[in-house]
């Protein structure tokens, strides 16, 4: 992040992405809502929020639906033994994020309802 000279006296401001990740590290899934419009911000747009003060952080309901999923059958990375699924999940509040579903891939269905959870490593996952 670039800093304007007149900001130099300030301590470094957390970006909206940092705020999101800080909540998540405490196993707290929050969604950013613009104060001006009341609109929820997609995760892809978090780093375009000019100031984190422009948004408020609403606790997500944890309810979501499976927008799409894929199953990796070819191993590209030693940390990811196959098969494993990668999912695009839409939160009830609207934002879409990439995650994984704690389920056999044969049980996955597009648009199925999901619930947010955290795995042992603290990674955000979803359960049917």
């Amino acid at each position: 992040m670039t800093t304007r000279p007149d900001d130099s006296a300030q301590t470094s401001v957390q970006s909206a992405t940092d705020v999101f990740l800080a909540f998540l590290a405490k196993r707290d899934l929050r969604v950013a809502r613009l104060r001006s419009s009341g609109k929820f911000i997609d995760f892809a747009e978090l780093n375009r929020v000019r100031s984190p003060d422009d948004c408020e952080w609403v606790r997500a309901s944890g309810r979501a639906r499976l927008f799409s999923y894929v199953v990796y059958h070819r191993q590209y990375h030693p940390d990811f033994p196959v098969p494993y699924n990668v999912a695009a999940v839409v939160l009830e509040e609207g934002p879409l994020l990439i995650s994984t579903i704690a389920a056999e891939h044969q049980a996955l269905l597009v648009d199925m309802p999901l619930t947010a959870a955290f795995d042992d490593a603290g990674r955000l996952i979803f359960r049917p």
């Binding site: 799409s68 894929v70 940390d79 879409l96």
Partner: protein, 391 residues
């Protein structure tokens, strides 16, 4: 209203195309360029423009402006490297066209070169990089979403579910392309496919099987772009460029516009508007189809099929040899050679000039060429024709 072409392609050349190591990206580029000049009947001294595209996955600067020195070009009036992901090659030819129309350059070579296939590694490995959809550093990597294949497979799965389609429709697309490839001596995969063979192909990233993915090669291709007047004076087989458009609206194959389209719709519409034609006037398509789904989706995104209907259209043979709307008549990325945007462009030039041999399509009047990249986020399209004017 009759419209005259914007510019003309009068030469096409390839380097050797191979799965083996056959030289550096710059060497292959030079080889394709010389072949294209020969084909156009143009000398290196007559060339006054050089535009280049390298693969995003190649080492940065692998194909740079110093190629001018390696080639020993004269005093170039135009020299640049174009980068807009999968739309780069079509954009490169658009820039060449604009330059010759404006009189900034007279004879412009457009070159793409890549060497993704390295020994002892699966070719797909060259494209494996973590993707960033969220804009949050490392987010997708944490879930193992690697390569363009992951995001395209997500878009494909959503598309199939949305319209009640299944992998037989992806298979139908791969089979149709292979029928064309069987007639193309340049194609590397020419053995006929049926659905059983398709289903036996291993999943890479489900719903994509190996046969749903582009067939990477080492190689290069080049075209020579000049003005309509110079092309007429040269009197050689010519592919005329009538329409050019781009579309980059922030939507993707994963997060489409509300109507299911992406910037590909804008790019195609703009190209058609410039050419003064409608989707129904298109007689042939050459799509950037790195995955089977991309070809199906392009039919809809470009307005040639209604949403959700491309699968049935392809399965009915409509895009195959003898079909009403031939698509990727050289075999496309899946069956011929994966030279990114040069694959559809080169086949459009071959078809427009009537050089298609066994696969030549009689109705080659209006050819739609597209290029797209990111995850269907960046788009460029062109209308190419053997005719100097379109009625």
């Amino acid at each position: 209203m009759r419209r005259t072409a914007r510019s003309a392609i009068i030469g096409l050349g390839f380097s050797e195309l191979s799965r083996a190591p056959i030289g550096s990206i710059a060497d292959l580029a030079a080889s394709a360029l010389r072949a294209a000049l020969d084909d156009a009947g143009v000398t290196l001294a007559e060339l006054d423009g050089l535009l280049l595209v390298q693969s995003e996955t190649a080492e940065r600067g692998a194909l740079g402006v110093r190629l001018r020195d390696d080639l020993g070009c004269g005093d170039l009036a135009l020299l640049n490297v174009i980068e807009a992901k999968g739309s780069s090659v079509v954009q490169m030819v658009q820039q060449a066209s604009l330059a010759v129309e404006a009189g900034m350059a007279r004879m412009v070579a457009c070159v793409f070169s890549d060497t993704p296939v390295v020994p002892n590694t699966g070719a797909g490995q060259s494209y494996v990089r973590p993707t960033t959809l969220s804009g949050i550093d490392g987010w997708e990597e944490r879930y193992g979403l690697f390569g363009a294949i992951g995001t395209y497979a997500l878009a494909a799965q959503r598309y199939l579910a949305r319209f009640g389609l299944d992998d037989s429709h992806l298979g139908a697309y791969a089979i149709a392309c292979r029928k064309w490839a069987a007639l193309n001596p340049l194609a590397l995969l020419r053995k006929q496919l049926d659905l059983d063979t398709y289903y036996a192909s291993p999943f890479v990233v489900q719903p994509f099987r190996l046969l749903d993915c582009a067939f990477p090669v080492n190689g290069a291709a080049a075209v020579i772009v000049t003005s309509v007047a110079r092309a007429a004076a040269a009197g050689r087989p010519t592919a005329f460029i009538h329409g050019m458009g781009q579309g980059h609206n922030g939507y993707s194959g994963l997060r489409t516009n509300d109507d299911g389209t992406t910037g590909g719709r804008s790019a195609a519409r703009r190209a058609m508007a410039m050419a003064g034609i409608a989707p129904a006037d298109v007689t042939m398509c050459q799509f950037y189809d790195a995955f089977s789904f991309s070809g199906l989706f392009a039919l809809e995104d470009c307005g040639l099929c209604e949403a959700g209907e491309a699968g049935a259209f392809v399965a009915a043979g409509s895009t195959s040899p003898g079909g009403v709307l031939p698509v990727n008549t050289g075999g496309g990325h899946l069956s011929s050679y994966y030279l990114q945007g040069m694959t559809p462009l080169s086949e459009a030039v071959i078809q427009a000039r009537g050089h298609g041999g066994l696969r030549q399509v009689a109705r080659n009047d209006v050819i739609l060429v597209n290029g797209s990249g990111g995850c269907l986020e960046f788009h460029a399209a062109m209308i190419v024709s053997p005719h100097e004017t379109l009625a």
